[in-house]
Symmetry: C2
Subunit: 252 residues, 2 copies
């Protein structure tokens, strides 16, 4: 059975897509059959890997097409379901349903988890029904948090969202880890952010991803960090994350 991991933080620009793409690529490189689903209408997963499917998550969610047919193989052991601006229409469509509007994704994905060992969901920066669908489908969540004050403020809201899903939908989504991103040891604010997160999340705090221009350059070459510069700090940090996720069992 696949481990289903949502990569989520409603704060914008915290490194969700960068984490989703490089974690998925790292898991595939280790030989795990991996599916990466873009649930964000920006469609940055496709932009980062240089893939534009003829169909997207919209076709799975709203038109009920089979996820296995819409998924596109992009690297060895890595398939992707892309997204584009039409997904924004799906949000309105979900809102106008009278029931189960939080569970549509879980219903549609059906047996897809049998083909894969890991299913990752790159979530958009919002408190949307699409993200509630992603959380109801996932069985654990990875929270990238950039090392700055407004992102720290945002973490409280992520925890509230998780509590709401558990209370109202009866679906518990344990935290696989909180991942500090854009870490720069020379900046006091970054060190304080990590210290605050460590105090709060203890052993669920993952080793930080350091700020690295190579990580920002890789998408412009439509490559993962491992393909673009395998010896960069970005590749090192994301490889460590892969090992940590592989090594840990699904959180309780």
């Amino acid at each position: 059975r696949a481990r289903k991991l949502a990569i989520l933080n409603q704060k914008g620009g915290t490194g969700k897509t960068t984490t989703a793409v490089n974690l998925a690529a790292g898991l595939a490189e280790r030989g795990f059959e991996t599916l990466l689903i873009d649930t964000d209408a920006q469609g940055n997963v496709g932009a980062s890997l240089g893939v534009k499917g003829d169909r997207s998550l919209y076709h799975v969610l709203v038109e009920g097409q089979d996820a296995a047919d819409v998924a596109v193989p992009v690297r060895g052991s890595l398939d992707v379901i892309t997204a584009d601006a039409t997904l924004a229409v799906a949000e309105v469509w979900l809102a106008r349903l009278d029931q189960d509007r939080d569970r549509i994704l879980a219903k549609r994905m059906g047996s897809a988890h049998r083909r894969y060992q890991f299913i990752l969901l790159d979530c958009g920066p919002s408190l949307s029904l699409l993200n509630q669908n992603a959380l109801t489908y996932a069985d654990e969540v990875l929270i990238p948090v950039s090392c700055d004050y407004l992102a720290l403020v945002g973490v409280k809201q992520v925890l509230k969202t998780l509590k709401d899903i558990e209370r109202h939908l009866g679906h518990s989504v344990p935290i696989a880890g909180v991942l500090p991103t854009f870490y720069d040891a020379r900046i006091r604010l970054a060190k304080e952010a990590v210290a605050t997160l460590r105090g709060h999340f203890k052993d669920r705090l993952l080793d930080p991803i350091r700020r690295s221009t190579r990580l920002a350059e890789a998408p412009s070459h439509r490559q993962t960090i491992f393909e673009y510069d395998n010896s960069s700090t970005g590749a090192e940090d994301y490889r460590r994350l892969v090992e940590r996720i592989v090594g840990s069992d699904r959180p309780a």
Copy 2:
């Protein structure tokens, strides 16, 4: 009559809130009566200025309360309408309306523009009905773009959104300016991003906001950049933006 300026980019983390807060503060400092409206459920405007109104944009939009009653004075000549997570509920409420769901904000704000000379709207990172409402109410848009590849990719989507509003709602929102943010002259990617933007937007490209830790620290002190460190590059760059906005008339 007030100039109504939406600060918008559906890409996350491009400096929208930082720009909205510091531009609003700079305009108020220059003596213009200014209203800053947070249209993002994250509520980062309130977090950045240390204000938590007892009511928010939700009360104006969904409950029809008077904007003038909900606005809170936070500095001399600067009032704020805050937001919080309940605004996410307003998105579903808007989606379930059968007509005019793009124009509710414009209807509700009514005569507020008579009290102010500038009304700024901090928009959240999404392609949402709330943002369509902000664009239908505004008469010009400022687009902060961080100097990285994925943000550049996102600008095409912003332009599409503006075209859609014009075509479907008959409301034209000219671009007051495109503002490069997180600019670091030592990084090639940043220089390339600005060159690409200049080629596309010509004289609507504004002078970049340089990456400056002081800008990231100011919100943790609930201060504007002018209050926190008036001699920083951040204060210099935002003061230049204020002069540029004041000096230019509403774009044609």
